[in-house]
């Protein structure tokens, strides 16, 4: 069932998501977009962000982006890099394929 040295899928995914989880609020709805149609990852994300409600798509002000092809690039502070989209939304890049788009405080 478990290959030696291979971390469990849920444990490994939790490690990826933990930095982003720290920036999420306690309640509300968060969008979710991914380059994979893996339903398992979607539901695991929902499990890990409870009590937030996850919604597929970009409708909510906060959107989690799950990118599997992005190369791992650690941020300077080891946590995340912040950039701005043309519409003023903040993008937090955690350097592990997970990004958080925050449209709550557009200038």
């Amino acid at each position: 069932v478990f290959k030696a040295g291979t971390p469990d899928f849920a444990v490994a995914y939790r490690e990826r998501l933990t930095p982003a989880r720290a920036l999420l609020p306690d309640h509300g709805t968060v969008g979710y977009i991914s380059d994979s149609n893996d339903e398992g990852e979607f539901y695991l994300t929902q499990y890990l962000v409870v009590p937030l409600v996850l919604e597929k798509g970009q409708r909510p002000d906060l959107v989690l982006v799950n990118n599997h092809v992005a190369k791992a690039t650690l941020a300077e502070d080891g946590v995340y890099r912040v950039s701005r989209l043309p519409d003023g939304s903040a993008v937090y890049d955690f350097g592990n394929g997970i990004k958080l788009i925050d449209r709550r405080h557009k200038p």
Binding site: V1, D8, G40, Y43, L44, P51, V53
Partner: protein, 494 residues
């Protein structure tokens, strides 16, 4: 862990009080084993009503639980004055071959030790369990705990791949989390341990009671030696709790056959040697209760309850006549009515639509059921997965068949209606599972019916596996009986 331990055990104490009220003179071990399922069944409903009344998760559930335990204990204490239920007929102790029995018990302990080690390693490596655990059961439990007054979003906006599933496991986990006041991965893992231990314990206790310790140890070895059965437990799936309720129902029917009145060997075969006693009736009510509670664990429980009702009524009628059959069925239905009504009310008021039906509609399902090639595909899938059942290195069913041929079959007359009910229920449940797979919406690779069989059939078989082993080891002669016969043949005639 100091806080989690009592919080996990409280529902079992509640269950013990209730089961003891129902079957006060039953052996404490059997009462304790049944308490795990009955306790968590009642506790999960208490949690649900608490949420509806209080509006959010809170530690107040502990007070409600304590009040229920105290009330049950007072009631139980008052009933102590009631007449004793007649003791079961004394069965002469079989000639015991200590060495064989001891060897089998040591074998069982070794297998149990290996299963426990596997459980601990797997839970340390994968503390979240497997797919269904975090996508449904534990996710819902966490949501109930952490969402406060928004917990009803569980039925509206929270993504849920199985919106029609009953809430036994989520509410059981949530209830214990509410009791300790915070989230913990240890709680679902502990509940999973309780249910696998109770299932194995109940199989051992029933066979030990009605056959011999050797037979019980053999059955326990097969059950705990089944790799996929143990896997489903540390995966934290609801299939093991469901298997517990199925087994508990059958074990109670078998115990009823043993504890109930005895037929006279001579005279009218439809007349009882002694009038039906209280113990028998109460065992049937408890059997109905466990069957009814299975419908609160997974949808398969509804089918199970219905099938047991019909088969038990039918086989009782055949063996005892209509009047006794009606009396027995009535007690069984009485025990199950409460949980079945509650589970149906939940379905109507809160649960979403079944995913299999929602995807294709009823017409789509009917269309699939009229496609002959799907029957062949599912038949081939069943054949493959039954042969390679539960990841055993060799076909365990084939091994059991050979074992059965070598040792021979022996059925106690008094057990016949209950045993036939159990055997027929397992067969009918398999047929129902077969039809569900045929009518499933999956028809396009890679998610076609073969894929669905691959991910579903092994789990469905494990739900019935303890029941099958109970029926099998009740039917096959015990090693003690064989050794006794060999000994009597080899000893010189006096």
């Amino acid at each position: 862990m100091i806080v989690i331990g009592p919080a996990v055990l409280f529902p079992i104490i509640l269950g013990f009080v209730v089961v003891h009220l129902l079957i006060p003179r039953e052996k404490p071990l059997i009462v304790a084993l049944l308490s795990v399922g009955v306790g968590y069944g009642i506790f999960s409903w208490m949690v649900f009503f608490w949420l509806l009344v209080a509006g959010e998760a809170s530690r107040g559930i502990l007070l409600a639980e304590a009040a229920a335990i105290i009330a049950g204990a007072i009631l139980s204490n008052r009933r102590r004055g009631l007449g004793r239920v007649p003791a079961p007929r004394e069965v002469p102790p079989p000639w015991r071959i200590i060495s064989l029995e001891t060897a089998l018990i040591i074998g069982f302990i070794a297998v149990a030790g290996l299963a426990a080690a596997r459980y601990i390693v797997a839970t340390r490596m994968a503390p979240y369990g497997s797919f269904d655990a975090w996508e449904s059961y534990n996710m819902k439990a966490r949501f109930i705990l952490l969402s406060g007054k928004d917990w009803k979003q569980l039925f509206t906006t929270l993504p849920d791949p199985v919106p029609d599933y009953p809430l036994f496991l989520p509410l059981s986990v949530a209830g214990v989390l509410m009791s300790i006041g915070n989230d913990s991965l240890a709680v679902p893992a502990a509940i999973a341990v309780l249910f696998i231990c109770a299932t194995v314990g109940l199989l051992l206790a029933t066979l030990g009671e009605s056959r011999s310790r050797s037979q019980a140890a053999l059955a326990g070895m097969v059950l705990l030696g089944t790799p996929f059965f143990v896997h489903l437990s540390f995966a934290q799936y609801a299939d093991i709790p469901l298997a517990f309720f199925f087994l508990a129902t059958m074990a109670l029917l078998i115990l009823h056959a043993w504890r109930g009145p005895v037929k006279t060997s001579a005279g009218d075969p439809r007349k009882w040697g002694v009038p039906p006693d209280q113990a028998g009736r109460r065992l049937l009510i408890t059997a109905g209760l466990t069957a009814g509670l299975s419908a609160w664990v997974k949808n398969e429980g509804f089918v199970f309850f219905l099938v047991v009702c019909i088969t038990y009524f039918g086989f009782s009628w055949q063996a005892l006549g209509r009047q006794d059959a009606v009396r027995r069925a009535r007690k069984f239905v009485l025990g199950g009515a409460g949980p079945i009504i509650l589970a149906l009310a939940f379905k109507l008021k809160f649960a979403g639509t079944n995913a299999l039906v929602q995807t294709q509609g009823r017409a789509g399902m009917m269309h699939k059921l009229l496609m002959p090639h799907r029957y062949l595909e599912v038949l081939e899938g069943f054949r493959y997965h039954l042969y390679h059942l539960a990841s055993w290195p060799e076909s365990i069913l084939l091994l059991l068949a050979v074992y059965c041929v070598i040792l021979g079959v022996r059925i106690e007359k008094r057990e016949r209606p209950a045993l036939l009910t159990c055997a027929a229920t397992v067969l009918i449940m398999l047929c129902v599972y077969f039809l569900v797979l045929v009518g499933s919406p999956y028809d396009t690779p890679p998610f076609d019916v073969s894929w669905y069989i691959l991910v579903t059939a092994p789990r469905l078989f494990m739900q019935l596996w303890p029941c099958f082993l109970l029926v099998f080891f009740l039917t096959v002669q015990t090693p003690d009986q064989i050794m006794n016969r060999l000994k009597s043949r080899s000893s010189p005639a006096v």
